[in-house]
């Protein structure tokens, strides 16, 4: 490669790594890479030069379910190996929504973009344990300004000392997303930045649920303990 071509290759590699090489030029450049070691070397050099810049970007924890989703894409579980997880069973939702005491009122607020003076959204999560006290309910509501989700049990929930409650948003498909730990005795306020985008869009969330987990919450990113409360989202 003569000097002029080398300079051009280096300039293209620089623009590629910086991100300013776009569109068809970027795609063309990428198709050249496998066959041109000099080009690859130039790209590697520019990566080494510029990527340390990203060290100053403040890390941001991805949503809880992300790792589970990656695992599911890489290593799909054999279909008959394990029983379907509880949130795929329709029976729960049928049972929950069949109860006259279950109410989902005032729904329709989009968290991401709350209209002015939006009414609060309240979801009542019914106790799911057959033997448990039928009156036990958990209430989750989105504050009127759309900036926080507030969850509390109507009656304090009795738990072993080494167990905590975790609140989940259950999508129509896929794994639940953790909304964080909630108090078994009082009010828990979950700030907007902890809530997934468009939580109350029914394409994203079919139901809210509360499960019993070890201290610190589910170690796997999906509910591990029994689900003690569940309420369907009806928009």
């Amino acid at each position: 490669m003569d000097y002029a071509r080398q300079t051009l290759a280096d300039a293209l590699a620089a623009q590629y790594v910086t991100g300013t090489l776009r569109g068809a030029a970027r795609r063309r450049f990428e198709t050249l890479l496998p066959g041109h070691p000099a080009l690859r070397a130039a790209v590697a050099d520019w990566q080494a030069r510029l990527m340390p810049l990203t060290a100053v970007v403040v890390p941001e924890a991805p949503p809880t379910g992300t790792w589970a989703a990656i695992e599911a894409r890489l290593w799909p579980a054999p279909t008959s190996a394990s029983p379907a997880p509880w949130w795929r069973g329709l029976g729960l939702w049928r049972a929950a929504s069949g109860l006259a005491t279950v109410a989902a009122v005032g729904l329709g607020v989009l968290l991401a973009n709350p209209p002015p003076q939006a009414p609060p959204v309240v979801v009542v999560l019914q106790g799911t344990e057959a033997g448990g006290p039928a009156v036990t309910t958990f209430v989750a509501s989105v504050s009127g300004d759309g900036r926080a989700l507030v969850a509390r049990p109507v009656i304090p929930v009795a738990l072993p000392t080494d167990r905590v409650l975790e609140l989940w948003a259950v999508p129509p498909q896929g794994n639940p997303r953790s909304l964080g730990l909630v108090s078994a005795a009082g009010v828990t306020v979950i700030r907007r930045e902890k809530l997934p985008h468009a939580l109350l869009d029914n394409r994203n969330t079919a139901a809210l649920a509360v499960s019993v987990e070890p201290p610190g919450g589910s170690p796997t990113g999906v509910p591990t303990g029994p689900v003690v409360f569940a309420g369907k989202l009806q928009l």
């Binding site: 990566q47 990527m51 340390p52 100053v56 970007v57 403040v58 941001e60 997934p196």
Partner: protein, 209 residues
Amino acid sequence: MTTAPEDWTQRSRDLAEALSRSALGDRGAFKRLYALSSGHLFAVILRIQRDRNLAEDLLQEVYVSAWKAAGSFDAQRAQPLTWLTHIARNKAIDSLRRAQTQPRTESIHPADDDDRPDASQRLVDETPGPAALLERASNARQLGHCMEGLTAQQRQSVALAFFDGLSHAEVAEQLRQPLGTVKSWVRRALMTLKSCLERAARGDAALGA
């Protein structure tokens, strides 16, 4: 909390081990790789692709690609976090092309925006702007020294392009400068950086000899 350059190096060793074991099919090592790097990669993606749902999908794609390509990672030539960050940035930039999503393009230079006096203030309580990030990056030893050799305009152009994934045209629009001017700022900035870093590396080598 930001990642200090020393942490970057230490983490690189842990990541290199996790990545090389992943290449052998070790799923546990790959999970460790995810734990060590996902926060950084998600933040890098989010700066470019601001739709959180899309950004999360992209993050999944990054790790799916990384698992499949782990065998091609060359620990002699590259740092693992550099390698992963490049995959993440690539996917984020490609997603802009697909979705035509507008990245945030609010003005970061106070002078010409008198009717929007809050533009620069808003950056204070939001995520830091690209210029602020670049200033922090300047703490990194040689890179910082070399960054100081750029003009303010060159620095700002590179910051907008690199951190926020803006194209030349978008940078030009943002800075209200002709496209050709911005292109030459970016080009000269990169060439200045390169020769400065190479000089610094030669200097280090001479000291070490």
